[in-house]
């Protein structure tokens, strides 16, 4: 009974303190809330509204003459059957292959570089670290222009290839997909009917499997080149935090360098791996400036990405609803992929298969 009567007064006191602290807290955070609200929350809210409206780009999207059209803009993109749907399908195809290639490659390369640079025996570590990091701090526009020259028909890359007797492609003018090209090399030039006759988002399944075009592959190489340095820094920081004791213990157990990397180092890098993969997925799905300055979506639409398509539909075609609908679909794709990735990389109990691999240790414990 006493406990019951005491509780309100205690609570009141706590809330009074919380109230005073609360006011101060709100005061301190108010500038940030206003800035975020003004420049982030409201614009995102406006874009969301535009994606459900028939706003044509004149005057305010909230004015009386703008109507609510439900999911029309989304339907046009996802099941409209017209050019808008096909363009969106093509852009997803292009960007999908780009992500599929860039994310694993850049993660593996940056981890590899980090391990190399982190080795105590390496002389001139500072130099290599700077050299690898350098592309990351250069403006992406500058690198794109450099790439256009390097990968021109008579550019440096083709020159080097010619020393090896390889007749290099006309990189940024070549719309052919590399998977199709590989299949073509073994004599398969048209797909089976089941692939060519069925379509998804207006693009035939055979074309979905075309792979990135030669032009897009040049962008893949560029992304790997520019971002590996940044992610290498993250991996170096993580590697330097690992204690040497676990390594030593593994060494005492007779694990060789390869085993120590896969069984000891890599599992401990999992949080960093998650960060790198997440940043990689977000960054690669949002590729825009390279396309805008480099190819403008050509050749043959094979470097159109959703972000670029969103820009052109809004600013060039006055299809503002469709433009923002693309942006929100892209947002959903990124969120879903990040969640999926978090699910795959979650901490879980050691599997039976793994346990069997550690068979000796388990037996040792039993004994």
């Amino acid at each position: 009974m006493t406990a019951v009567t005491n509780r309100p007064s205690l609570a009141r006191r706590r809330s009074r303190i919380a109230g005073r602290e609360g006011v101060a807290g709100w005061l301190f955070t108010a500038p940030m809330i206003v800035i975020l609200g003004l420049f982030l929350v409201i614009p995102v809210g406006m874009a969301l509204w535009v994606s459900f409206s028939d706003w044509t780009g004149r005057g305010s999207p909230f004015s009386g003459s703008v109507g609510f059209v439900g999911a029309d803009n989304y339907n046009t993109l996802l099941s409209g059957g017209g050019l808008a749907e096909r363009d969106f399908g093509i852009s997803l195809r292009n960007n999908g292959w780009y992500v599929l290639l860039v994310v694993p490659l850049q993660t593996a390369l940056s981890l590899f570089l980090a391990v190399l640079v982190n080795r105590a025996v390496l002389k001139g570590r500072g130099f290599f670290r700077t050299a690898f990091y350098f592309p990351s701090v250069t403006s992406s526009v500058a690198i794109t222009v450099l790439w256009l020259f390097l990968f021109g028909a008579t550019g440096a890359v083709n020159k080097v290839l010619s020393y090896f007797g390889v007749n290099g492609p006309n990189w940024f003018q070549d719309p052919s997909g590399i998977v199709h090209n590989l299949l073509g090399a073994v004599g398969i030039t048209t797909g089976p009917a089941i692939l060519t006759e069925n379509t998804a988002l207006g693009v035939s399944l055979w074309d979905w499997l075309a792979g990135p075009s030669v032009a897009m592959s040049a962008f893949v190489l560029m992304a790997v080149f520019t971002t590996s340095g940044t992610f290498m820094l993250l991996f170096i920081a993580a590697l330097q935090n690992l204690s040497g004791e676990t390594q030593e213990a593994a060494m005492m157990d007779g694990a060789n360098g390869w085993q120590r990397f896969w069984r000891i180092t890599l599992p401990q890098l999992k949080p960093t791996l998650f960060t790198v993969l997440t940043l990689g997925i977000i960054g690669t799905w949002q590729i825009f400036d390279q396309i805008y300055t480099g190819t403008q979506g050509g050749p043959g639409k094979t470097t159109v990405t959703p972000a670029y398509l969103s820009y052109t539909s809004a600013f060039n075609n006055q299809q503002w609803g469709q433009g923002s609908a693309i942006a929100f679909i892209l947002f959903v794709i990124i969120v879903v992929l990040t969640l999926l990735q978090r699910f795959v990389l979650r901490d879980r109990a050691v599997s039976k298969r793994r346990l069997r691999a550690y068979g000796i240790a388990v037996k040792g414990m039993e004994r």
Binding site: I42, G59, S60, F62, Q173, N317
Partner: protein
């Protein structure tokens, strides 16, 4: 749970308040509309998508001299990305008063009411080439005055021409002759003919065969008509025979680059090529001819921009006077001299030709030129067509045009 509900409520309130504020401040300027808030002394802003310093300077000078004689203040800004800056202006309700509008952007801006349809009020309305007026007519209304225009011609490298043993009498006037000279001009070092893989070049052959993407009124799609297919098939035959190569195949960004670098002996380009030749390839000795006639006679494509006036402009009368001045015969001849464009008025034709005798074929082509489709969304259709034209050499012209027809039908004549 309760706490998070409260937080969401707060967030909702912030969004609602913010949107109300935004609606409030832009609503006032939006509802005022055109006409009601006209102010005869309001200064004008002119936004141009300039091709370079010469054009910016010429326009700035012309506007400044109009400004001092009319007493209305006017400033010229060269846009870095014209479409984006225009769109931002229209959305904010405070656009530039006078600006360049391209044929493929016209329909979008006209449809959403951003443009003032002032064409019929122009004093010099009847002086413009009729095909140009048609290009800037949307929904039966003549929206804006053509700024200047360009047509496609056949540009020939005279030295390579002479090396192949050809004379002035061999300048092709038919498709057969074109194929023959292109074949003759082809060597291991250079292609006979080169042009970029896009409708804006290849489309000229469709016109020469009597076809085109849309009919004469621009109200029906005719992309896969027999004539259009015949035109594209001829282009394919040029490519497969090796007499013609796309500029992209030659590693050049456009026909002019392939031509200037000597990678091709002939190219199909517009009169803008003269500027590039003068600046980048001054040593190339070239001449210009009209495009040869196809199965249905001569044909070429024409390109133009117009002077748009914003429906939200507070001083439309002054803007109209400025445009009349900028499109007047003398002013257009001054522009032509400054940055090599062709005047959009017929009264300037004779003088322009006597000043540029070597380029006369470009202007003479105006009599049989056709514009590009202007319906809203047709730019996307053409982009899609361009992406297929890149592989024309190995694909079926009819199949390409069938898919274009399907896409065009969705946007034309709605």
């Amino acid at each position: 749970m309760q706490r998070s509900t409260k937080r969401w409520l707060a967030l909702g309130a912030v969004i609602a308040a913010g949107s109300l504020a935004l609606t409030g401040c832009s609503g006032s300027s939006f509802d005022s509309g055109a006409g009601s808030s006209q102010n005869a002394s309001a200064p004008l802003t002119v936004l141009i998508g300039s091709s370079g310093d010469a054009e910016t300077k010429a326009v700035t000078d012309a506007v400044a001299s109009w400004s001092s004689s009319s007493g209305t203040q006017a400033t010229v800004t060269a846009a870095s990305d014209l479409n984006q800056q225009l769109s931002q202006g229209f959305a904010s309700g405070k656009p530039a008063d006078v600006f360049y509008v391209s044929t493929d952007a016209l329909a979008g801006y006209a449809a959403n009411g951003s443009l003032l349809a002032y064409g019929d009020k122009l004093a010099n309305k009847d002086d413009f080439y009729p095909t140009l007026v048609k290009s800037f007519t949307y929904d039966g209304q003549f929206y804006c005055a053509p700024k200047d225009f360009s047509t496609l011609g056949l540009v020939i490298n005279k030295d390579l021409w002479a090396q192949a043993g050809l004379t002035d009498a061999d300048v092709p006037t038919t498709w057969d002759q074109l194929s023959a000279v292109a074949q003759k001009l082809t060597t291991a070092d250079h292609a006979g003919l080169s042009f970029s893989p896009e409708y804006a070049r290849v489309g000229a052959f469709m016109a020469e065969a009597g076809g085109g993407l849309v009919d004469a009124d621009g109200t029906a799609a005719t992309a896969n008509s027999d004539a259009s297919v015949a035109g594209l098939s001829y282009v394919k035959s040029l490519l497969t025979s090796g007499a013609a190569k796309y500029s992209s195949t030659l590693g050049a960004g456009w026909g002019g680059e392939a031509f200037g670098k000597g990678l091709a002996a002939m190219t199909i380009e517009g009169n803008w090529i003269t500027g590039a030749m003068k600046a980048d390839y001054p040593n190339v000795n070239y001449m210009v001819a009209e495009l040869p006639a196809g199965t249905a006679g001569q044909g070429t494509l024409q390109f133009s921009n117009c002077w748009g006036i914003a429906a939200d402009s507070p001083n439309q009368d002054a803007a109209l006077k400025l445009v009349e001045q900028l499109t007047s015969t003398e002013q257009q001849l001054t522009f032509a001299e400054a940055f090599g464009v062709m005047p959009s008025v017929q009264s300037a034709a004779a003088e322009w030709k006597s000043a540029n005798p070597a380029l006369a074929p470009f202007l003479d082509s105006a009599t049989f030129a056709t514009g590009v489709p202007t319906a809203q969304g047709s730019a996307d259709v053409i982009k899609d067509l361009n992406s297929q034209l890149e592989s024309l050499e190995t694909s079926d012209p009819k199949a390409i045009l069938d898919s274009t027809q399907k896409n065009l039908e969705a946007v034309v004549g709605k």
